[in-house]
């Protein structure tokens, strides 16, 4: 019943978004049809969905792992940028290392970048200083500035004139890409993370303890569960996985650090996680939906001159229809 309900809510949201576009003098049906043709009718459009699903799944895990113990990590965007930054740093400074060392080191740095960025709000939460929702949102604004500083400053490639970017990463630091497409090994990393998280959550003692803390943190604390350590660990692992998404964007898609690493994957990942809950299968389905929505945004931008940011209305409509749909349900869960 859940899936059917979600389907109707998504449909209502698409209709509402179409209405908004219609009022703005655009052609929503044409846009939806164009998107469907682009996505289903071309190899490029179809594979692009999967290219986008990998950062979306990883950004969703960044939200959903802390959410299992009742934390609200909205910092996926910043964690993606920090992962990209750390990964680039390692790939540039170890450029002469052999590939078997370089690629794992780059991956590990991407994870570390995101983890560090998520640990700051985790520590502030543990110390009781501030809610992690507001601190992670503020950190989202700092991380892109750090990337901008590095590519306009120390890492600026001499060949980049008007469009600053870092030097190209050496081949040894690049993730494998399927020839002829943009599909890359990041998708496998995302799948592995997703499977591992589902396993830990439902098949290990850690998962049981996480679910206990999510159910009642105070009671778990009195039972002797290390709640503070779980706050740190869940935020760090979630942030680290978002960092891997940033690493994959640099290492597989761009091949270098650029200013625009993510078109808002962190925020879209929040939506994926919120719609999917703890279920791995639903996470994949919702990541697919959000990948499709971002294609709608691209099509609108190219064919009807509407800014990409306008698809945020569609995202808001979906989230609102889910939040308002189950009257009072949210409060009782």
């Amino acid at each position: 019943m859940q899936i059917e309900r979600t389907f109707w809510k998504v449909l209502i949201a698409f209709a509402a978004f179409g209405l908004v576009l219609l009022i703005a003098g655009k052609h929503p049906l044409q846009a939806y049809a164009d998107t469907a043709v682009f996505v289903l009718g071309s190899l490029e459009g179809f594979t692009e969905l999967f290219v986008r699903m990998s950062p979306l799944v990883m950004a969703a895990l960044a939200v959903s792992i802390p959410a299992r113990i009742g934390l609200f990590n909205v910092g996926g965007e910043g964690q993606i940028y920090m992962g990209a930054l750390f990964a680039t740093g390692t790939a540039l400074s170890l450029a002469h290392a052999p590939s078997w060392l370089l690629l794992p080191a780059t991956l590990a740095s991407g994870f570390a970048g995101g983890a560090v960025w998520a640990l700051i709000p985790a520590l502030m939460r543990i110390k009781g200083v501030a809610n992690e929702a507001i601190t992670t949102l503020l950190l989202n604004y700092i991380a892109p500035l750090a990337v901008g500083y590095m590519i306009f400053g120390p890492w600026r490639s001499p060949e980049s004139l008007s469009y600053p970017q870092s030097p190209k990463l050496v081949e040894g630091a690049r993730l494998a890409v399927l020839p002829g497409t943009r599909l890359h090994a990041g998708l496998l990393i995302a799948a592995a993370c997703l499977a591992l998280c589902a396993y830990v959550l439902y098949r290990t003692r850690w998962g049981l303890e996480m679910r206990a803390i999510g159910g009642n943190a105070l009671a778990s604390q009195h039972l002797g569960l290390p709640v503070r350590s779980y706050i740190g660990a869940c935020m760090a692992i979630g942030g680290g996985i978002a960092g891997l998404a940033g690493m994959a964007e640099v290492s597989a898609i761009q091949g270098r650090l650029v200013a625009e690493i993510s078109p808002g994957y962190g925020y879209m990942g929040f939506l994926v996680a919120w719609l999917a809950g703890p279920s791995a299968a639903k996470t994949v389905a919702m990541a697919f939906l959000l990948a499709f929505i971002s294609s709608v945004g691209d099509v609108l931008q190219i064919t009807q001159g509407v800014p990409f940011a306008v698809v945020n209305i569609l995202m808001a409509a979906i989230l609102f229809s889910v939040l308002c749909g189950g009257k009072r349900a949210g409060a009782l869960q």
């Binding site: 609200f72 507001i134 503020l138 950190l139 500083y149 400053g153 945020n312 609102f320 949210g330």
Partner: protein, 302 residues
């Protein structure tokens, strides 16, 4: 040189602090009623875009201000419905309000992107210094900032309406038993915060930037939410906070203008880093000042 920098920064911090103050005042009212609105940033953007559009169409910036206020309140209605009537998670609903504001403002602002608009008329107070002059530009919204603070303080602490609003934020079940209409009060608080955030966005667009750019509020909505904690939910403390955080923004602009050889990217971090660094200073007593039912969906009878 240093004196010039200090005076110029102080003058500029008033302009930057005004929009922060309006957003913070609105958020204080909403949070006192037990609703945390994480979507301030989106509402400010909607206000800025509506302000630009209305000013361009009518040629009168005061119509722009009015449009921004109405847009801010209107866009908050859907958030109010989700949290007040449906008992939705307030943080998630606030984020969808952020998404909505991002999208709606991009749609409204698109035709005016980059176009210079005729902003709010302002009076320039000049302080002559040995090099150049520091200019404090005073417009209607700057002039109204302190009266608005006084009004919010008075309404919250000295009226029956304010007492009931705060009761709902502290203990909605007790407030209900005492005959308060939780639904109506929370709707009023959320719409008021939306109107204030729209005003804040209008000030950024019509008195500081004089143009529309996508995402132009640059996280000030989130800084305002942090400011509410920093100000311990007190309107007068918010004035001091807005000047300090507005000052951080102004200082960064003044340092860049003075030709200091530091990357603009590092200086742009200043307001956010300062906000994060200031949060621990709120202290334990400050956190206890939070309304007791803040962020909790009401599940009792009505």
């Amino acid at each position: 040189m240093i004196a010039v920098l200090i005076v110029a920064t102080l003058a500029a911090s008033v302009a930057a602090g005004t929009s922060l103050l309006y957003a913070t005042l609105g958020e204080i009212v909403a949070e006192r009623a037990g609703v945390i609105n994480l979507g301030l940033e989106g509402v400010m953007l909607a206000g800025a875009a509506a302000g630009c559009a209305a000013t361009s169409v009518t040629g009168n910036p005061y119509w722009g201000v009015l449009a921004a206020v109405l847009a801010g309140a209107a866009i908050s209605v859907v958030f109010a419905y989700a949290v007040v009537d449906c008992g939705a998670n307030q943080l998630a609903a606030g984020l969808s309000l952020l998404f909505l504001g991002l999208g709606v403002s991009a749609l409204i602002g698109r035709p005016y992107s980059g176009a210079i608009i005729h902003g709010l008329p302002s009076m320039s107070l000049r302080a002559p210094l040995e090099q150049g002059a520091a200019v404090l530009s005073v417009d209607a919204l700057v002039l109204l900032a302190l009266p608005a603070t006084a009004l919010v303080w008075w309404a919250l602490s000295a009226t029956r309406w304010g007492l009931r609003l705060r009761a709902v934020g502290e203990n909605p079940a007790a407030a209900f038993a005492a005959g308060c209409n939780r639904r109506r009060l929370q709707y009023q608080a959320v719409l008021l915060s939306g109107a204030c955030s729209g005003l804040a966005g209008a000030h950024i667009a019509l008195a500081v930037a004089f143009t529309w750019a996508e995402g132009m509020t640059g996280g000030r909505g989130f800084i305002a939410i942090a400011l509410v904690m920093f100000a311990r939910w007190n309107p007068w403390a918010a004035v001091a906070g807005a000047l300090v955080f507005g000052g951080a923004e102004a200082l960064q602009l003044q340092l860049q203008a003075s030709g200091l050889d530091v990357s603009p990217f590092l200086m742009n971090m200043l307001p956010y880093v300062l906000t994060l660094a200031a949060l621990p200073l709120t202290g334990r007593a400050g956190r206890l000042a939070a309304p007791a039912a803040l962020g909790r969906p009401y599940t009792g009878v009505e």
